[in-house]
């Protein structure tokens, strides 16, 4: 059994509680021991890096110092794509000695990098591995067509995320295929959903979301898989707004990768949390 530190991040205790319950539920079944970082704090998100770069680098450094020095672990699972990007950015920034010096002053102890960071896709693709996942998939899907939606921060910018193929990634597709789904080829894999502009520039976000879903559907997808709380909330909840001007709109369920995995390996309905979604997804994953 492997042991990995676990950083939920604020969204997983807010609008993405079903990501937390499904993720933890799958980890238990897959035999990965997740150890939550004690007293974890916000990663700082966009608000920190658009206000104070040093703080934006220091907040994840504080968490990773705990992982390394207090918990004695080498890897941390960070299921939120936005938090993941901040953790990876910190590992990149502390390579610079001046930055590392300032970060140590803020955190109260040094952190010089060295903790591996796993996003939701990495967790299943690399930590668990496709073979082990296939062996545990007792209820595989029967060719459900799914568009794997990566959004921005799982892969960009590649010098930070170290993504192999930042423009047209395939690891999430491979995980879905292992579960018996049929991933579709489509255009908007890594396009932006509008992220937190959803809180104040609704018209922009509705248009970005509409383009993404129209393309997924045109390419044959019955559902969209995602690995980011902002992507899920925007794509799921904004279809209601689209319908106001387009009554012929056909809803497409937006489902976390961990919910697909959970359904296939037999995680219970309560942990899957599909009831929380605005666009009904339960029938498709029943």
């Amino acid at each position: 059994m492997s042991r990995v530190a676990y950083y939920p991040g604020c969204s997983l205790h807010g609008t993405a509680r079903e990501l937390e319950s499904s993720f933890v539920g799958t980890a238990v079944k897959l035999g990965v021991d997740l150890v939550e970082i004690p007293g974890w704090e916000c990663c700082g998100n966009t608000a920190a890096h658009a206000t104070n770069r040093l703080l934006a680098t220091a907040l994840p450094a504080n968490e990773m110092a705990k992982v390394k020095d207090d918990m004695g672990l080498e890897r941390v699972a960070v299921p939120c794509a936005a938090c993941f990007a901040r953790f990876m950015a910190t590992n990149h920034e502390v390579e610079d000695a001046d930055t590392a010096h300032d970060v140590a002053q803020v955190v109260g102890r040094p952190y010089a990098g060295g903790v591996g960071v796993l996003n939701l896709v990495d967790f299943y693709h690399d930590e668990v591995g496709l073979e082990a996942l296939e062996a545990k998939a007792v209820r595989p899907f029967a060719g459900l067509k799914v568009a794997a939606y990566y959004g921005c921060l799982l892969t960009r910018p590649p010098k930070i995320t170290l993504a192999e193929d930042p423009e047209y990634p395939t690891h999430m597709d491979e995980v879905l295929e292992t579960l018996g789904c049929e991933p579709v080829e489509w255009t908007f894999k890594t396009d932006c959903c509008g992220a937190s502009l959803a809180l104040c520039e609704q018209a922009v976000v509705v248009e970005l979301v509409r383009k993404i879903i129209v393309n997924a559907r045109a390419c044959g997808a019955q559902a969209i898989a995602c690995a980011c709380p902002l992507c899920q909330v925007n794509l799921d909840s904004r279809q209601g707004d689209i319908k106001k001007t387009d009554p012929s709109w056909i809803d497409v369920p937006i489902v976390y990768l961990s919910q697909f995995v959970g359904r296939a390996i037999g995680v219970g309905a309560a942990d899957l949390g599909l009831k929380k979604h605005m666009v009904a997804a339960e029938a498709l994953l029943a």
Binding site: H49, G108, R156, E167, A195
Partner: protein, 207 residues
């Protein structure tokens, strides 16, 4: 509109972000990949040109810098390796420092409330952020109310905060704010003012 040319702008952006705007050769790839290029006043390549020229109003006062989602597409694709998203962040910092955030930039309010929220609780408290935004930005009052209620009923929204290590968060934000403030003050003092104002172009004067 008068045009102010501040020859120190690109240097200030460089000291804050580490990025050199003069490397931009206007291929405009950043703009073609930008999800919000068509929704603002300018697009990213125009912002880059404005920074090079020191055209403060065009760059710092643009609505575009408050529409940028930070998606990093521009940064990933720029053939000159410029971190354009970091330059957008820097322009937002300059706008706030110089109290020139435009009134139709609601994202500025969201960012500030977000910062205050995680500073207060150790974690971001989403419900409080939304409530305070509605309280401080009247135009948001009616936004998404029905959707919010539906999400709440489905159990999508957690009404309660959860707490991080608040003492450590307070310590970290205090120290980081102090170091950041000092560094930016030094940076500002490094340039002598080098600014000129051009009068508005006279109508019909272009041949």
């Amino acid at each position: 509109m008068t045009t102010t040319i501040d020859a120190t702008l690109a240097r200030r952006v460089n000291r804050g972000s580490g990025e050199n705007a003069y490397k931009c050769y206007q291929c405009k790839k950043c703009s073609t990949g930008c999800p919000v290029a068509g929704f603002g006043d300018l697009h990213p390549a125009q912002i880059m040109r404005a920074v090079q020229l020191g055209a403060v109003e065009a760059a710092v006062d643009s609505r575009f810098i408050w529409l940028c989602t930070g998606c990093e597409t521009c940064t990933t694709r720029c053939p000159q390796g410029i971190d354009i998203a970091a330059i957008m962040d820097e322009l937002r910092m300059i706008a706030r420092e110089e109290h020139r955030v435009r009134s139709d930039a609601p994202f500025a309010n969201i960012l500030k409330l977000n910062y205050d929220s995680f500073r207060r609780w150790g974690r971001l408290y989403e419900v409080e952020l939304l409530a305070l935004d509605k309280a401080t930005r009247l135009s948001s009052l009616t936004d998404d109310v029905v959707m919010g209620i539906r999400m709440f009923l489905k159990g999508k929204i957690n009404p309660l905060p959860t707490f991080g290590d608040r003492a450590q968060m307070k310590r970290m934000t205090d120290v980081a704010d102090r170091i950041n403030r000092d560094k930016r003050a030094v940076s500002r003092a490094m340039d002598l003012p080098d600014t000129a104002s051009l009068p508005p172009a006279s109508p019909g004067g272009v041949r």
